[in-house]
Amino acid sequence: MRIRQDSSDNWASLARGRISACLSFAFCLFAFPASGQEFLADTRLVEARMGSSLSSTVRKAEQGGYRLARGGEVRFSDWYSTSWQDLRLTWITALSKDLGIYWGFGTGERGGKYEIDPSLKLGFLAKQELDDGQTLMFAATTVLWGRLSEDSCIADYGAIGGVQEVNCRLAATPLPPADTLEYLYDAPPADRFVLSLTYDWRF
């Protein structure tokens, strides 16, 4: 995650000498006057990342492979590699001195046997100034869509097992072929719901 810091004295000072208690990620706020005309000026990019946690899951699956029973080889990279990883971009737009909204999207990604759907990120950040340079910030974000799903394979085990629908990655394990389907990737984004509470104390 990229953190963009505003140059105003008020917010820039928060970045110095603070103690943070974060439930998720730390960030700095931007103090902008909220108006429709100044939307772009009030907006900052706070996240630009190629590859999500779901991408990382698939990258691990990309390693390895197995030999086929009658010769030949399966390489997982043929099914789980991609030329474009899920690009996540998130901005924050300040609506007031103490309130901002997060918004962004993910492009998703696709490989031979899997797909991460495009996603939309929404949320808000509220700030409350306390005494003596202390600040409390609360953020909540959600990611809509962006689910990882995996396609099955059709495996031919010959006389011993026939033709069966299987999990491509687990077809050569001792798992019964039908049981491998239970382990197909089917997961929401890891950051589907994130609540963050940050306490800053400037000293």
Binding site: G158, I160, V166, A172
Partner: protein
């Protein structure tokens, strides 16, 4: 005429005991059976018998340890939660005689040092099966009993012994034990992992005239198992992946029928503390159990075909006459033929 002996397929000298019968035309022939054991002090012929020790199947993959004598593929099977559950491996072997010897299958210092009670041949082969397929039901069946009974579910029989006699008999009238085994093999009721024998390169099913106590004799059990649906003959390599036959191991030979039901498996005697095709067969028996855990509706014949059809023959020294179909390869046997 007493002409036969039962022989554990391990390198050693022998002492005879037991009973049996060959039928040459209409005339019944008594057999004399032999027992071989290395390192042990020969004792009185054991009575043994009975229907065999009860199975347990009470092993745990959490406690399973892949010892150095095991193929690495076994660990992969355990990692996926499969250790032969739903399968019974019956070891027809010697569990009661006076012949015991020490080995190093586990890291148990007592066994390794040979300072504690040494084990029977059957205890060692069954231990191999139990260690490879810890979730399988292991049945210890002393070989001097009556018919071998199969259990519910998928059955594997491990035969790390031979029935030796002078060659020349046209047919054999077997006792109830071997008769039941041969029936299971012929009908495809069980996977039969049969140690190929330690004739120092003798052809399986032919007279072993090259070395050892079986010199000049024929393993009639192997002879009658040739061509049966459920049987795999197992020879020994010096180690997994070595491609080098152990000097004592019998070979598949020129008979293409035998070649088509012959595998080899690594027997690293430096790890195990003993040698012999006796200890190659239990590995294949364990593989069969693991394979049946995956293909739960597969018949024994299909498991046999899969193990034979997926053997590794890619090593430079491979010859069908020596290695049959090649080295047993569990990971290949578990894999599909094709996938898309």
């Amino acid at each position: 005429m007493s002409i036969s002996q039962r022989s554990i397929l391990i390198l050693a000298s022998s002492i005879a005991f037991g009973f049996g019968a060959l039928n040459d035309s209409a005339q019944a022939q008594d057999l004399t059976f032999g027992l071989l054991a290395p390192g042990g002090v020969p004792g009185p012929p054991g009575g043994g018998g009975g229907d065999g020790g009860g199975g347990d199947g009470g092993g745990s993959l959490a406690d399973a340890v892949r010892y150095s004598w095991m193929h690495a593929d076994v660990q992969g099977a355990w990692d996926d939660g499969y250790g032969g559950q739903g399968t019974t491996i019956t070891f027809v072997d010697d569990f009661n005689s006076g012949y015991v010897f020490a080995g190093t299958l586990t890291d148990d210092p007592c066994l390794d040092a040979g300072t504690c009670t040494a084990l029977h041949h059957g205890d060692w082969t069954a231990m191999q099966g139990e260690l490879i397929a810890p979730l399988a039901n292991i049945v210890r069946r002393d070989w001097s009993g009556g018919p071998v009974k199969l259990k519910n579910g998928f059955n594997v029989l491990n035969l790390s012994y031979g029935m030796y006699a002078a060659p020349g008999f046209a047919s054999v009238r077997w006792n109830k034990q071997e008769n039941s085994i041969l029936d299971y093999a012929a009908n495809g009721d069980a996977v039969i992992a049969k140690a190929a024998g330690n004739g120092c390169g003798a052809e399986t099913g032919q007279t072993a005239d090259l070395c050892g106590s079986t010199t000049g004799k024929l393993d009639y059990l192997a002879w009658d198992l040739i061509g049966t649906e459920g049987t795999i003959f197992v020879g020994a390599l010096t180690d997994h992946g070595s491609g080098t036959l152990a000097y004592y191991s019998n070979i598949a030979g020129d008979n293409t029928t035998v070649q088509n039901q012959f595998l080899v498996a690594g027997v690293d005697s430096s790890d195990m503390g003993f040698a012999g095709t006796s200890f190659a067969a239990p590995q294949v028996a364990g593989y069969a159990a693991i394979l049946s855990s995956k293909f739960t509706s597969a018949t024994p014949g299909q498991v046999v075909d899969q193990l034979l059809g997926t053997a590794d023959s890619s090593f430079a020294s491979y010859e069908p006459r020596l290695h049959g179909q090649g080295e047993a390869d569990l990971s290949m046997a578990l894999a599909p033929d094709k996938i898309q």
